[in-house]
Symmetry: C2
Subunit: 420 residues, 2 copies
Amino acid sequence: MADVEHPTALIADMGRRARAAARITAGLPTAAKAAGLRAAASALRAAEPAILAANARDMAAGAERGLSGALLDRLKLDAARIGGMAAGVDAVAALADPVGQTIDRAERPNGLQLARVRVPIGVIGIIYESRPNVTADAAALCVMAGNAAILRGGSEAVHSNRAIHAALVAGFAEAGLPADAVQLVPTTDRAAVGAMLAADGVIDLVVPRGGKSLVARVQAEARVPVLAHLDGINHVYVDASADPAMARAIVVNAKMRRTGICGSMETLLIDRGFGDAAALIAALREAVCEVRGDNHAAAILPGIALADDADWDTEYLDAICSVAMVAGIDQAIEHIAAHGSHHTDAIVAEDAVVAERFLAEVDSAIVLWNASTQFADGGEFGLGAEIGIATGRLHARGPVALEGLTTYKWVGRGTGQVRG
Amino acid sequence: MADVEHPTALIADMGRRARAAARITAGLPTAAKAAGLRAAASALRAAEPAILAANARDMAAGAERGLSGALLDRLKLDAARIGGMAAGVDAVAALADPVGQTIDRAERPNGLQLARVRVPIGVIGIIYESRPNVTADAAALCVMAGNAAILRGGSEAVHSNRAIHAALVAGFAEAGLPADAVQLVPTTDRAAVGAMLAADGVIDLVVPRGGKSLVARVQAEARVPVLAHLDGINHVYVDASADPAMARAIVVNAKMRRTGICGSMETLLIDRGFGDAAALIAALREAVCEVRGDNHAAAILPGIALADDADWDTEYLDAICSVAMVAGIDQAIEHIAAHGSHHTDAIVAEDAVVAERFLAEVDSAIVLWNASTQFADGGEFGLGAEIGIATGRLHARGPVALEGLTTYKWVGRGTGQVRG
């Protein structure tokens, strides 16, 4: 059994087994991976009593430890949530398989046939917090893309995660997939996270899923590549040319549809030439949003709180919005360059020239014209499930789904070519 | 002027200026970038006397420091080499521009038009050793892909690099490109390398170009993403089904065409069922290659040296080859999995089923069937110049050229869509 006393040795051992499993999953045809996932989904449904019992232990321990109501809600499983988890695994099984796709091909003058072909990345580490459904989601995405996964869930969900993991692995075994394709770190010791982050060459990619302190720790410590976002300090810029009704609809939706998601707007930038600014800010307030404005905004709508310097760099994840009045597109772009987090930024404008400048010059993973920032989501983008949203610049940006869990190799087919 | 006494502050300042320049180069049309590169190439030609004088200072200092003949040869510039450097910059100006290319697009059911569009990465750090031509090559590639570059060359080439850099920047200025698009670190203090490697968020990607100790240091220390290869422990596997004459031609070329490049073969794996093994090994020896074989190879060709355990993990970069006789494709794949460096591996076989298994199951950046490993080169792959070859799994694998110096953003164009 795994040596939970020595995290580095533990992760090295899990990594070796994951690499061996990944060599198998990498070569599986789409149908075999899909069958494995469907068997895992069935096993999840069949294990409902065991998963509920395990979850009850976690809930009791959580209540005893004084977890907040919000945390307990994230932790809680019921029949509907287990059914949703299984349906999510089935949905991943139905996605288009990126593995084996030819990205491009060429015949060289010497007759060598060259192609770039998508292949799995290898061993993916997922480090997550209280939501036990991530165990099933992440496992399904990693395996469908031909990888092996090493999962490290939060201590508060340990029993739930083990029960879900056992069901997944039982389903895989039934369908002939290697059990080591999805391994759950058998200790909740935080040193195991450190060992994963240091496991260069053992784990090929780490995806942290959870709150800001988890992501910050992963980004600060990791010696392995990380796909993640730390902040979603997203802006909507309302240009002078914006349609006032459209601007109100987009701004209220971007802020208030769900305030706690990473795609929600945190700062509203209004062109000083936009004639309907007072009504726009009033619409936010009517939606029960606290508004913190700069001096120009306060002059337009007296009585609103004044933003301080920190507001422009704050991800509220709440019904609070900072509002700055800017002198046109240039100042809007400068504000976003200075304060944004390269996640999702939107412009509302009828002037296509201004809009195209925004789309070209704002350096974010997602840029939108006349649409709400709340669309920043793999499902909304048609990718199926997402493993997360990335705001780094390399490999994958924005919603990361199956394709983002693959890489490519160069495949050359010759007839005896040698280099002159 | 830059504060060379405080490397972290120096790199932070250079990074700020690079970011500002990158925002300009990112938006330049192809023709403007190409004109800038052509002006830089002209400036290099015009600066030939100054570059030669600077190089003479480096050569004299190198001779005094007792640099080897090989190092002095790498350092040395003459009219032909300066002409070649300028021609290389002109060639990059003629490459297809990846920036602005649409990778894919889709219309969502709600009418949102989504596209993934290639954009520059941002600020690229290049850390290199004695060859001063890298100053021009790397600068041209980074700028043509819309990035800014921070170059840190070796101390032995400091005067040459400064003269080349001055010419490049003069050319850029003439063509209206920002001078800060290519900056040369003004100190050869090794602490500046450490500051670059720690400059997370300032430098987006580091590419080390040089020997193994440089690459190893960069990979070990970097807090920023790195594209590189440490080793090229490349294999040729000769299957029982191989054509003997083709096998001899490919094996001798893969090993001996140039022994010092990263794409050269280091280990030859011969199927025990291949009937022409003795002649194959003899051909290598006739080409004046030292052969170190396993027991099976020594039995076939008595008198060859026996390989020890370290040989299978050694990149000779010399006229030396380790030879193992393996029991078919499975053992060949296992050997490569255990000892390879994920760079370039080739199979010689007439049996297409065996060959396709090799191409699918060998996990290397480049896999080749019936072709020499010496083709592992951006130019040979039709990519134009390359910034390097990468053996990591993320972002770009194999030869990294203009496309590898870009990333993408999601661009959505709507008509007022809000999320339900």
